[in-house]
Symmetry: C2
Subunit: 286 residues, 2 copies
């Protein structure tokens, strides 16, 4: 099976109501008069990080990508569980873990350590507490909303290619936790851009139903204007993508890049072009 087929099959299983039919990166769990947000991401050597990657960066990115999912929910971290495969410079991994847990005040709750496999695969489950309910998701965009991003796209791409000023964007992405918490009361839909602006806009449109997204290329901030098309298709930037009423007075600076419009089917326009998943919108199968 490919990933899409597998997730479709998972949807036939007993699902928790908080799973949101597996349409979102996070589950939302009402428990003990609190609302918890839970997410799990895995990373494998050779697929999600190079075999010669600095284990410090691997640890940082593993936790940061999970925290970015919490950020898009306006949640604050409660803690993380780690599933770790021994085998590289484990002490260096610990140092990266220390740095990211301290930076984002996300204590370790537990986990599991295994050994003996040929390819290291690590997983993190992050648990957060919602600071605003209803918890934002990607399905709330309304026709008439403005579409925003919190920062430029394509920085991680340049970092991946070795461009010195952008190395950190790729190796040690920053989950926008404070920004997500501030934005949560103002947004109609929100998600983090993990797989590229174009693909994630498409997903937001698809999840919101009855709406399309119209992007204006002149408004979209990119790291390299000469490579605009790549910048909006490359993932790993972890900026927040959100929609809000155009008159909303946002609590943090954000860049307006387009509008939500009525549409019968999921739709994405870039200026006068219609983009569809058939055009290769982003990193769909990682």
């Amino acid at each position: 099976m490919n990933e899409a087929d597998f997730i479709a099959a998972l949807r036939s299983l007993p699902l928790h109501p908080g799973a949101g039919y597996l349409r979102d990166d996070c589950a939302v769990l009402e428990i003990g008069n609190e609302t918890l947000v839970l997410t799990h991401d895995s990373m494998a050597a050779g697929t999600h990080f190079r075999n010669d990657a600095d284990p410090f960066d691997v640890a940082w990115k593993l936790v940061a990508t999970n925290l970015s999912d919490l950020a898009a929910k306006g949640a604050e971290p409660v803690g993380v569980l780690l599933g770790y495969t021994l085998g590289s410079d484990d002490a260096r991994f610990i140092e990266g873990l220390r740095a990211v847990l301290e930076e984002y005040d996300a204590p370790l709750l537990g986990g599991d350590t295994i050994s003996g496999t040929t390819a290291q695969t690590h997983g993190v489950t992050a648990i957060g507490r919602a600071t605003h309910v209803p918890v934002p998701d990607r399905g709330g965009a309304k026709a008439g909303d403005a579409v925003y991003v919190t920062g430029p796209l394509g920085c991680a791409m340049l970092g991946f290619e070795g461009d010195a000023p952008h190395l950190e964007a790729f190796n040690r992405p920053r989950p926008l936790l404070a920004e997500g918490q501030k934005l949560a009361p103002f947004v109609n839909a929100m998600m983090d851009i993990s797989d590229g602006l174009a693909l994630d806009c498409w997903r937001l449109s698809a999840a919101s139903r009855g709406v399309g997204i119209e992007l204006k290329s002149a408004l979209i901030p990119v790291a390299d204007q000469a490579r605009f098309d790549e910048c909006i298709r490359w993932g790993d930037d972890y900026q927040l993508l959100f929609t809000a009423h155009p008159a909303a007075k946002l609590p943090i600076p954000a860049i307006r890049i387009g509008a939500v419009t009525p549409a019968e089917d999921p739709a994405l326009w870039l200026d006068d072009d219609i983009l569809t998943p058939d055009h290769g919108l982003g990193f769909q199968h990682r």
Copy 2:
């Protein structure tokens, strides 16, 4: 690093108070007026399951071992998150997942699906709701307690070796959720036996401080009396091990196998023999 070194290093990181200093299989999280129990276990092809294992069994065991950790806490499942590496008969894995989730009323909350690694590694985070507080742990054994197990040891070993009547014990272990919930109000310490009776008794002694465990070999139920020593050292049985006041009227049948005695350092006796980790108590580094 080996696993013990790595866990020691993890203890130097920012830890959540509910992590119990990483001494237990589960974290305990007070949320509002509820107490959640969280655990994460990973399994890798070639290490934790054979490369030619039936993916149905792999799915079952992956979830069941996590639910067994909840059982030892007297918790009832809320849901599970799955980290899955594509690559075997994924449809068959889904069927095993369906069976175990339905059997134990543990709905899927979310997760992550990845591809592209040479060795499949899967992880599950299970979340449960405590049915009794304080939540039992392995650190509560008191001198004078009786020591109990819920059933025979060594069944999984025979199943691993291909013995037909015991195949299921190895391939599809049964987490004792109902039993754990019933026992929770009665026990002073409880854990599941994942790494063998001897090693897990040692750990219980070490966690409880000031006590040792005296086991009587004639009382210990094993699957094959001729291989007693192996049966008490082989893991994967997932019976519950617990201590309780000897006069406690237990709510379910259990087998009394020994007693808790005062001891300055962690100690384990089997009849007149002293057992220590140096004697190879069980599956310590899996």
